[in-house]
Symmetry: C2
Subunit: 156 residues, 2 copies
């Protein structure tokens, strides 16, 4: 986790971070899907090879969860708690396959300090996930509650 | 998996299914979050107990992934592939805690046969996840590509 901790007043609209690389391994794709999305296209290499995608593809929820992990690791929020409130316009635009290497672009598109609670606010980030060929595979807007510096002590 | 397989033309707007119960266990909450969302509120019982939620809460992506698993297990689509295209208006409305037992209400709110490809269409389902106290913890709209009976052979 980065040592630096950012709070609401440290951020500006248009601020961007890049994330990744996330290397997609077949064993991880199958393990996640066996638990959470056990469809042949995600868990059965033989059935998937004979199917419309010509091979295993990752569950969309797996890719979204990996983007969350990378957000914790790569965005410079340090120990500041990131409380997901809402997701809008989440689109799984292209299949993610074993061997794919994903990169992430994060951009702050809105910042809303709370009117009633000075210890917190909400940022909106546009997450754009691209594979090694520059194809966007996933995109979404994420509304995240973030403490102000005042909230650093109260919103643990 | 249910033996029955439903395709696009078998569905009607307003059709509903219930899902669950999903029993939230602390060990599962911590295991998921350790891999995908390693924040103290999700993985550290001591830090979480001293924090704003008074204890561990589940990562929102964990709850969403469990709803996907239940969808495969409980909705009567049999082997029909369910390809998630889009999610809108996903809101994590209340914390999910160890010991919570979640129920799911799924309702078809839209059905759009493809104009150009007679083997497929898109359904929109409203997923509403409620805890044992009747509190809605998660709600979202899910656009899912589903084969027609014609597509049962081509869209595996």
């Amino acid at each position: 986790m980065p040592a630096q901790s950012l709070h609401l007043e440290d951020l500006v609209i248009g601020q961007r971070w890049s994330g990744g690389p996330i290397v997609m391994r077949e064993a991880d794709i199958i393990r996640f899907a066996a638990e959470f999305d056990p469809q042949p296209m995600h868990v059965d290499p033989v059935a998937a090879a004979a199917g419309r995608f010509g091979g295993i593809i990752a569950s969309g929820w797996h890719v979204a969860s990996l983007v969350m992990r990378d957000f914790i690791d790569k965005a410079p929020f340090g120990g500041t708690p990131l409380l997901g409130l809402k997701v809008d316009d989440l689109q799984w635009l292209s299949p993610v396959r074993p061997g794919d290497i994903l990169g992430i672009d994060r951009e702050i598109v809105d910042i809303l300090p709370s009117r009633s609670k000075p210890d917190r606010g909400v940022i909106t980030m546009r997450m754009t996930v691209t594979n090694q060929n520059g194809v966007v595979v996933l995109s979404f807007l994420n509304l995240i509650q973030l403490p102000t510096r005042l909230g650093a002590a109260t919103l643990r």
